[in-house]
């Protein structure tokens, strides 16, 4: 192969690579994220504190909406094995789904004795308040 015929394909390949990087911003963003990951490894204090999070049961729930965190705290602190929720909670799809998956091993059961309410909702007659926390109420309906 002559020099010219050798250079042309490489130039074409280089052009394709440059066009791809210019047209797609995601790869550069990924490289930035990977770079930050590298910085984390090189920073012993940050790395150690993140390792502690990985090693600790139940960590990472800070990503949940605050009402859900309160509901989960009520369910866990009262050792509730099954629960149901009010209409207001059910109407909020994000809160409902985060509650149901976050609460495991405690499960949602439509006939459960424990009911979760949010502030402003009436405690049903014959039900007694078990505990409340940051606008969320756990009641027991025998």
């Amino acid at each position: 192969m002559t020099g010219k015929t050798r250079i042309l394909p490489i130039a074409a390949a280089l052009a394709v690579l440059i066009c791809s990087v210019l047209l797609y911003p995601q790869p550069l963003s990924t490289v930035t994220s990977l770079g930050k990951a590298g910085e984390t490894i090189l920073s012993p204090y940050v790395f150690r504190s993140l390792l502690q999070q990985i090693e600790t049961p139940g960590t990472g729930e800070q990503v949940l909406p605050p009402p859900v965190r309160s509901m989960l705290a009520l369910v866990r602190s009262n050792r509730v094995s099954s629960f149901r929720y009010s209409e207001a909670i059910g109407a909020n799809e994000e809160v409902r789904q985060r509650l149901l998956e976050g609460a495991l091993p405690s499960r949602y059961v439509p006939t459960a004795a424990y009911l979760l309410l949010v502030g402003g909702e009436q405690v049903p007659p014959a039900c007694s308040t078990v505990a409340s926390r940051e606008g969320v109420i756990l009641v027991h309906c025998p």
Binding site: Q26, S29, G58, L100
Partner: protein, 462 residues
């Protein structure tokens, strides 16, 4: 916990290597090139993942599955050490390739493990299912609550490869949190990284393109807990290996492609669509090039069929369990009637869908780059390899099927497109990237052997 992180790769490799020994000719000889060694390593890891999936579905209990995996891995590692070929090949991968793979694996591991599970589908589907298995006495059976009201929204019939892996890591650690079970994603990533490395070759530009567009372009989809990124990654790999098989007739390429296809089926139901599209495209190539049909006949041995059956055992078993437990299959079914489809046409839905799938999902840009690459090849008087047309046809078929799914969706079209179009088109993007990559290696190496690694024996297994 750290023992689980250190041991899972050797265990998966050992399991996969044992399965590969069903066809001793595949593993008997030392690997000839670093690309071949990387391919064999990634194939063994994929087989290990798929075997592990099938074993958990068969035995149910995660602890029993650990025992079976340990025995299988012990046998596989013994055979690997005794055979020496793959180990020598692994060392021969070269420090540069190993450095790239290890550095990327470590950096991705940091992002995967340190960022908690936060996004919607990750929490509501994949990690919820893992949690259900973990809190069901670490057992995969009907009692996990697949048909219970609390799991109704989570698409209980979706494939369970990733949830099972997350539950296994949690079981190994002895607790659940929103970080460590994500190691399951890392287990999915490593075989794909090594598989990508099997396509690196001098002068490296095509390899850099593959790394940038097939890996980095997937961005957060590889660490946020969604399966779409991994589906796309393995879709691209499946087509790359199958495309290379169409050029080289090398059975290991075919098997690795089949294993990658099985990975897609085990990750998301769209994998089934990819299998159908790939089969149609391969048939089309056979029709055009009769020579390939001969190589297919050479492949149809009972040993290859046995390994092929082993890789699809998990997805088949899961479909059996879905029926036994009375769960919805989650496959697209009973599309809207023709009258409604006609009405959608009238409302200009085709334009809306095309805009979302081609422009917003950035398919048009990738297709334009591919067209320019093919044009550059033509200008330099290069013949476009059949492997490229196979990949383009598969992408076109898959994209058309996705278009049809949106056209016939019973959901609100704007909502459906807005929440999913970008990620459902990721496999199409990966297939176009794969086609561009195949054109690039053809440009870099003009002779007929361009689109394959320099194997000493191209069809050592017949």
């Amino acid at each position: 916990m750290y023992i689980a992180l250190s041991l899972f790769l050797p265990v998966l490799f050992g399991m996969g290597w044992l399965v590969l020994n069903l066809h001793p000719a595949l593993v008997r000889e030392p690997t000839a090139t670093r690309q071949e060694a990387a391919r064999l390593l990634s194939l063994a890891l994929m087989l290990g993942l798929l075997c592990n999936y099938a074993i958990v579905l068969i035995v149910g209990s995660l602890s029993v599955s650990f025992g079976v995996a340990a025995v299988m891995a012990g046998g596989g590692l013994f055979l690997a050490v005794r055979g020496k070929g793959v180990l020598r090949g692994a060392v021969g991968l070269g420090w540069m390739t190993w450095l790239v793979v290890i550095v990327l694996a470590v950096l991705y591991a940091v992002l995967i493990l340190f960022l908690p599970v936060a996004d919607w589908d990750a929490r509501s589907i994949w990690f919820l299912h893992g949690k259900m298995i973990y809190y069901n006495g670490q057992t995969m059976n009907a009692a996990a609550g697949w048909d219970q009201p609390f799991a109704g929204f989570s698409h209980p019939g979706y494939p369970e490869l990733a949830p099972i892996l997350t539950a296994q890591f949690a079981a190994a650690a002895g607790f659940w949190n929103e970080h460590f079970p994500k190691a399951g994603l890392f287990a999915l990533l490593v075989p794909a990284l090594i598989a990508l490395a099997s396509f690196f070759r001098k002068p490296w530009l095509s390899g850099v393109y593959l790394l940038v567009m097939a890996l980095f372009n997937l961005g957060g989809w590889l660490w946020n807990g969604y399966m779409d990124g991994y589906l796309a990654l393995y879709s691209g790999l499946a087509c790359l290996f199958l495309a290379r098989w169409l050029s080289t007739d090398d059975q290991l390429d075919a098997l690795t492609g089949i294993a990658a296809l099985a990975m897609t089926v085990s990750l998301k139901n769209e994998g089934n669509l990819l299998v159908v599209c790939s089969l149609i495209s391969i048939s089309a190539v056979f029709l055009v090039r009769r020579r390939t049909a001969t190589s297919l006949r050479g492949m149809l041995t009972w040993r290859v069929a046995l390994i092929g059956a082993a890789v699809f055992l998990g997805p088949i078993l899961w479909q059996v369990l879905i029926r036994r437990w009375g769960l919805p299959s989650e496959m697209p079914s009973s599309p809207m009637d023709m009258q409604m489809i006609g009405a959608r046409f009238g409302l200009g839905a085709t334009g809306v869908i095309a805009d979302a799938l081609l422009m917003k999902a950035e398919i048009a840009k990738a297709a334009a780059i591919l067209a320019c690459t093919i044009a550059a090849g033509w200008i330099m008087k290069r013949r476009v390899p059949a492997a490229v047309w196979f990949t383009v046809l598969t992408a076109a078929l898959y994209g058309s099927a996705i278009f049809w799914i949106y056209l016939t969706t019973k959901q609100d079209l704007a909502w459906h497109l807005g929440t999913s179009a970008t990620r459902t088109m990721l496999p199409v993007l990966q297939l176009i990237v794969a086609a561009t990559f195949l054109c690039l290696i053809d440009l870099e190496e003009p002779d007929d052997a361009a689109d394959r690694p320099p194997l000493k024996k191209t069809s050592r297994v017949t």
